[in-house]
Amino acid sequence: MHSAVIDSRAHDRDNGTQSRPDLSVTVGDLVLGNPVMPASGCFGPELAPLIPFERLGAVVTKTVFARRRAGNPAHRLAETSHGMLNSVGIPSPGSDGFRSGLLRRYQAGGTHVIVSIGGLVASEYYEVAEDLADEDIAAFEINVSCPNLEQGGLAIGTSAERVAEVVSGIKELVAVPLFVKLTPTVSSISEIARAAQDAGAAALVVANSFSGLSINLRNRSSTLGTGAGGYTGPGIKPLALKLVHDAAAAVTIPVIGCGGISTAADVAEFMIAGATAVQIGTATFTRPTTMIEVIDDLGPLCEALNVRNISELIGTMDNRVTTGLSL
């Protein structure tokens, strides 16, 4: 494949300044060159011709299941005015297929590889984790938003007990650090965040896509083949930012922010709200080089915000009420 990006933006940045702000952050035992990584399912080795992977803080794989899965019927994608809906349904080559195929290509990228794992029953999480435990992997990201067959299709991520059970179950089996990617549609993210921490999570990812729907008026059917889907992109940013703030306030482990991020300013907002790093999903579809552009913009933004190390931003949100003289 030959790929041509006909847009000067990604290329003609000024990279020649003297003492640049330090963009590195530490997530558990992991030191990332910068806080930006892709969101699971919104990235793949196919992007290598467009993105220098080694410039990313880490890469995150699409969620891997123990067994092969075909995913959902078409349409799997629909655009909304402020983001998109998907019902891809996590097709997967299964852990064997993943190990011998995609994993090697992720590993060739020259940065940390975080492997997202999922399951339809608790035992499938254990299986896939054990299958991949000996690989050169920086962390597992446990996707607890998969529909759980033991709970009538409700995601494990909606219950603090089930999250704790799955996380500690995996923790007993493997030594790989565990990140837990939380489900956003819960009444109290703090409770689930604490449960994940107590069960041994090294970090949290907050959050996954939101449950959404759009309807095609002509045929009165969902714009997606499966009815509802995951709502992602800029429209969810205020929601994700609130969840990040609340989760970060509830735990001592690092939180990785995710949801609607598309600019360096968004990254700064998430870090100020409490995130140590961030993931970018939908914005990579809009412009495949978004993550690199964001990383390029982080240095100048740090200077504008007067921080030498980007990690100085983490969790510094000031909640004081600001009242001026004129009311």
């Binding site: 006909i6 000067s8 919104c42 793949g44 078409a74 799997r76 994608l77 891809v88 914005a283």
Partner: protein
Amino acid sequence: MALVLEAPEVAASVRPGQFVMLTAARAGESAPALPRPMAIYSRDQGAGTVEILYGVVGAGTERLRSFNPGEQIYTVGPLGRGFEVAPDVQTVLLVGRGIGTCSLTTVAQENAERGRDTIAVTSARNSGALIGVDFYRKHGAATVHAVTDDDGTSAPAALIASLTEQHDEKPPQLILTCGSDRLTRLCQTLSERWEAPMQVSVEAHMACGLGYCHGCASGARSQGNESPLICADGPAFAWRILAETDA
């Protein structure tokens, strides 16, 4: 509507049936969130340009229309697997409907370059909506069947009658089609009659166009196996593969 893109790398390397992803959001904008797959209508390797034709349908193409000459537009490509023309093919039948014709026109361009013959069918609701008639003629098509719903010539029965009458004697060795399920069935009939293999270019909603988002597949082909990715395994498929998938 037409867009001529200064894109020397695309113009130099694009194969017939491949496409590009155009981002209708300008730099700094986040909507439309998804880029749009667009066929290459024609390419000019010397000038380093490619031309894209599009109809204004929804938010994406509405936005494309707002771009001014000289503006930069974020483009990734060429992408996908185009049509495959075996070395022994001498005559290719191209059957396109509406904007779908844009996926076929560069085949005619290549045919002309390589000394192959083109028979072209371009179908549309009315004569104003016909695409490619002049283009095909200019690129040496032996015959151009321009058919419309308005005058009844696009009706499958009428069309198959005129195609078999004219080409039964010296039928094409390859049939390529895009843009209509009805024409796909018609091509299938011709494919069987003439024992000519057939390829179809299909559309799907796409997010990445590169093969990693899995948004463009149609679901399961057989237990646990995902159907082909339109963006990476296609958009051009041998008809046999498609028929298997359609379960």
